[in-house]
Symmetry: C2
Subunit: 180 residues, 2 copies
């Protein structure tokens, strides 16, 4: 089956420092025309960092869009031209008192491909070190939370983890010790 | 640590049939003010449906925002006032030649809480039946793809699954047979 949609024309409705909203007219495989709204995003990186005590490094922060604090893997938007691996290393160091020597790509995925082009690049961190010299930005309010695999299983079962990228990262971690 | 951000004022920048873009001025816990952009979305439901031959029912469809076809669990936006469980049943029947007798909640999660309030409600379907009477909408171009657990493991390893909700749903399925 032919699936491709082709852009016929486009119009930018809104733009700020990191999001652009485009409204495009597209052609379906059968020739019919539709409108598609697209939220364009620079992409982001997130990091699965596990300490030598086998605890995953998570952050609790207020998510204004959700109206609540969420427990998440460290993550952040890509700066212009930034390598996602560098972004993952940077966000871990900025948001937590830990640094990593290196990161390894686990996966890349769209957060909401029905209307948004954001790609999230997920990395596994290696060589985690506590770095007590961390000086967080005065306008950043982020708590570090360390959880064992058993605590992660409980938190998923209790629906305390309700952020998509974090569920994916933690499920990858749990699956490493799965013997099925 | 106090994490809450409080709305001081707000302004709607854009609105269409399903998305609203708000720009709010908020107060941080330290009293400083910032702007927050929020993409408001009605929420969506998605469904993990496994046939009696132990194959998961996926759909391949064009995602204009991504510029490519993606392999996903059946999913769709909530109609106004719609129960997410009903939406999950409806989307399975609309997008695939399968129906379910009932669905059971697995999880609910934010797709992109850094800028969007979309909640995805993930269900496990029970009582899957092939329904050859399905008549897809003439403007819907969706292929059904059936995969075994081994094929899913391969597809995740090969990064052929690159949609967040689908990775979460499939990882839940794989973890059911995990004996760790």
């Amino acid at each position: 089956m032919k699936l491709n949609e082709t852009k016929l024309s486009g119009n930018t409705l809104f733009q700020n420092s990191f999001l652009t909203i485009d409204q495009d007219v597209i052609q379906l495989p059968n020739g019919n025309r539709h409108q598609r709204l697209v939220v364009r995003h620079p992409g982001a990186a997130c990091v699965l960092a596990v300490t030598d005590k086998q605890q995953v490094v998570l952050v609790r922060q207020w998510r204004y869009a959700a109206g609540r604090a969420l427990l998440e893997v460290p993550a952040g938007k890509l700066d212009k031209g930034e390598d996602p691996a560098q972004c993952a290393l940077r966000e871990l160091a900025e948001e937590t008192p830990y640094t990593a020597a290196s990161v390894e790509k686990i996966a890349a995925f769209y957060s909401a491909p029905g209307f948004c082009d954001e790609v999230l690049h997920l990395y596994r961190a290696h060589g985690i070190q506590a770095d007590s010299a961390l000086q967080p930005d005065q306008d950043e309010f982020v708590e570090t939370v360390l959880l064992t695999q058993e605590e992660v299983r409980q938190a998923i079962a209790n629906q305390e983890i309700c952020d998509a990228k974090t569920l994916i990262a933690l499920q990858f971690w749990l699956s490493e010790s799965c013997t099925a």
